[in-house]
Symmetry: C2
Subunit: 654 residues, 2 copies
Amino acid sequence: MGSPVVSRSVMALSSFDRAPSDPTGPRFKFEDIYPAVDGGRYPVKRIAGEPVAVWADVFRDGHDQIRVQLRWRRENADAWQVADMQLHGNDRFTGSFTPAEPGWYLFQIEAWTDQFASWRKGTLLKKQAGQDISLELREGLEIARALLPADVTAHAVVADAVERFNREPEALLSDDIGGAMAQSETRPDLSRSATIPLLVERARARASAWYEMVPRSQSKVPGQHGTFADCIARVPEIAALGFDVLYLTPIHPIGHTNRKGRNNSLKAEAGDPGSFYAIGNASGGHDAVHPQLGTLADFRRLVEACKAHGMEVALDIAVQCSPDHPWLTQHPDWFRWRPDGSMKYAENPPKKYEDIVNPDFGSADRIALWQAWRDVLLFWVGQGVEIFRIDNPHTKPLPFWEWVIHEVQRHNPNVIFLSEAFTRPKLMKALAKLGFSQSYSYFTWRTTKQELQEYLAELTGYPEREYFRPNFFVTTPDILPVQLQGGEPWLFKSRAALAALLSSNYGIYNGFELLEHEPLPGREEYRDSEKYEIRTRDWDKPGNIKPYLAMLNRVRRDHAALRRTDNLRFLPVDDDGVIGFVKDAADGGVAGAIAVTGSPHEFWLHFGDVQVGGRPVVAIENLLTGEFRRLEWGGVRLRIDPQADPALLFRCVT
Amino acid sequence: MGSPVVSRSVMALSSFDRAPSDPTGPRFKFEDIYPAVDGGRYPVKRIAGEPVAVWADVFRDGHDQIRVQLRWRRENADAWQVADMQLHGNDRFTGSFTPAEPGWYLFQIEAWTDQFASWRKGTLLKKQAGQDISLELREGLEIARALLPADVTAHAVVADAVERFNREPEALLSDDIGGAMAQSETRPDLSRSATIPLLVERARARASAWYEMVPRSQSKVPGQHGTFADCIARVPEIAALGFDVLYLTPIHPIGHTNRKGRNNSLKAEAGDPGSFYAIGNASGGHDAVHPQLGTLADFRRLVEACKAHGMEVALDIAVQCSPDHPWLTQHPDWFRWRPDGSMKYAENPPKKYEDIVNPDFGSADRIALWQAWRDVLLFWVGQGVEIFRIDNPHTKPLPFWEWVIHEVQRHNPNVIFLSEAFTRPKLMKALAKLGFSQSYSYFTWRTTKQELQEYLAELTGYPEREYFRPNFFVTTPDILPVQLQGGEPWLFKSRAALAALLSSNYGIYNGFELLEHEPLPGREEYRDSEKYEIRTRDWDKPGNIKPYLAMLNRVRRDHAALRRTDNLRFLPVDDDGVIGFVKDAADGGVAGAIAVTGSPHEFWLHFGDVQVGGRPVVAIENLLTGEFRRLEWGGVRLRIDPQADPALLFRCVT
């Protein structure tokens, strides 16, 4: 650039010179990588043994031939595995890989220009056009020499062609050489995408039926404190109902200071057992069991009994302490103290929780505090527990959960975490994003067809379906929804069917099967809640809906389609009191209709253009009666009498 | 945690201990920040002097009071400016700022817990509930002391209350103290979002009417090479037509080696001027002007003449050289050479472009090469040029453009770049993302109502509208669309109306106003293209549509609504041959109907629930005739005779 005018321009700009980006850097663009949550800030969730399909737009400038690969590894592994990605038009590439085991993984996409393939394509076009390609062949020879593959076989193939070049220059254009050169590891413009984390879990993270049990209420003797042995006695019955997670409310020693009495009264009477969420007393804290329940060995026997029946125990972890918890004296720095030296109770002004103190996550000794909570979880993992239900995670720092879940899963990738956060939607989703396997949801308060369809459309949309796995609880010890307070059996069945069929994770709180429905007046809470007292029940009380629950759990076990939530599609039904849906899976599609109002319904269930296994649905077969119905005009006319059974379930025939 | 069992657990895990994340780190989440392109990888584009509205979901765990601020600065400025963001429910915060000048900016969001406000809110609730708050007041005193604001006034207010505490403890709860404490700079959990880049440009980046001129064809004497003086002579006429960008095809010396003849013939005849895209010969390269056009001083006179008429010159930068370009001898390393020592011409196999060689962006001396191209641009900036149309940017590395645009705009933030990339959609969008102010589009080939509406819906959707500003050219020297080859005047007018009214950036190539439409048979190219020869025209040839173009440019100047594209909404029209639309702006809304087929149309233009300035449209007034029409049933019945005028334009009356 010899012009004096330009030289002046350069001089004038010297203060402003920057080194250009390295042209060998990211020549490629990687856009719209699917799946990813918040651009790869949080992990996508998948199930071990299932293929992870990845799509992305990958391109560079110009028209050269490019190669695109998917690479993945376990987070702590050194070596990446790779798979080619294929172009599907409009610069979109797809590929897939299958992580065999649960754990934290990473994947990314890499691309480079295939210089030899670009040369070969252009030269073949020129040859077809009858042009002289002798100089092009010499250029190809230079490329082949420069990019000689290291692989022994490929190397030999190329080296042979190079050696024969003077006699057979056009051999360079052969498919063999093209294939061998494709293995060249010399990739000067290799570019890589952002790294996307992937949380691979076992199948129960996606499909589980929870039975929530209050251990101290499991004695057969009225008023007597239940034991782990009493719990073990109930395992065969619960397993027979088809539940696969036995979820225990906290099993730890209960504080005495400010113990709550029956119905959450401020003062406990003598003999009141206290809330099991006021954790810890002189006999131990979160790593101890309440002596009246039994010993740690008894607890492990319960874990084993469950395993023997195809179930497993989930523990309830509440990150809070009673004023008598050993940590208050061992680690006073982990708690807040008031100006008068008294402890700072939990509160939600003006409400106060005098039987509970919260750890101070801002404590100067917080690193030890975080580690102590991790060790509590690992302690129970050591006792055979691989599912934790975390109480109120939304009131503790999000970075803590992100760290502790990752820590525990690095130790044991089978561990599943359920987030019990009933709070604002963004915060609930944030907890799911950072690693919770499952999440409580608003299902309990979504009762109309429109509410349920809107909510599930949100949860099964992208990207929610990649990270948020709802667990639909019909009731909890804290929530007796208004709708159920009338105790109508059809409605209990309808709610169970909605929970068990629309969501692949669902749960009931013990007593639901007995239609328990007595509220504190004007509240959504149970009267005489067993959070504050011991209850004794006849588990075979007449009128119970155990056979219905067993039926629901059985069809869930028989049909993979019902063991996921992200495959849900609603079907048009010309009745606002009936929800129609279909779920598809490799072993066949299941369709259903569930009444959400109690009067009889006659309605059309329309399939429209819905396909199952890639084929149109032509008929349906009732899963319970075997009745076979061919679709007419894309639908079928059905009848539900909710008082008999609020749900219809069908195998889709294609 | 004294339990021996737990200690064993900790020991067993020692290999696996990691330092927890710093709990004082990002306690807050910042999600769905709007506006952002690819999560902040590329800049959002805005116009100087206009507010930038920012939204984001900001939250932390728990229920404390939080404060959220928006901060922004010019990229090279040290100091951030800040503005409070307001909560709009569901954890969404909004705020805005107004960058006064063009340039590259950054913005981000920060949040922190307002510890004093949280204390104050809780304490007021307890007081309202009649609880004893004396201990709470002492806690408040501790917080006030710890977080004493530095601001002199606020500090005095708080210090006074602290001093008076023993006499008037409840003064701590006053609004004054709350306001003063809100200024505390002690923010231990301050968290910041990702930083989002913002490219602020002048108004012409968003609204411009381009007249593309081939300088050598501007002489009035047939066969005579035009000069800059001839161009200057045409400036008043083009300005009177209302165009504001005079875009010149390349003005540099043209190569002799392998010069192309008329109609792109391989061999030039004596006297053929050659393609102006074969840039450079012994008299200079990209920083020189073709001697037959005049001198650099003549060029600057053209720049000045345009400015005097409210227009400006855009230069065409083609990053390629003729074989005679000085750089080939000065910098042979910047080019590719073949095994026989000959130069490597540009090609798109089997097509060859023997009059052009491409610089080698992979050259070992590439840093000097990149800088040389930057200096070419800065040279022309030095001559008063602030708009560049870049030829075929998609065949050069994307990182080069990202670097060079940024470099030039750091020198002069008024510089506008138009990307002439007719290629795959993702690559066109990538160029727009990395910094091109405007982009050529597929408009030239979108002719039906459905095609145009679908394409514009894509370009005005999110996030496209944040970075991709289409420039709708009706024709170019390379493209005479099949549709226009019949030379129908109404269709030329319709295409001009579509381009000028749907897109705020549009352009014509000289000759369009004269309805030039003679193609090479079976091609979309002009016969006797002035790319390869000199044309002389009668610019006032009978039948020209200059008055129509002047009308379109006048309404664009009169109505801010027509000077943006992202405000486009289509209106329902019950005729597939008519496109209805409305655009809204602060100074009023404009509605229009444009025929895309030639027979007369009678149709309803429906406004439905469309609002203008936040109010329903009740009537429309024809911009040309002043005819006033009140809407009936939400619409109005209209008639277009395309042969007279294919477009109707209205002021919206609310």
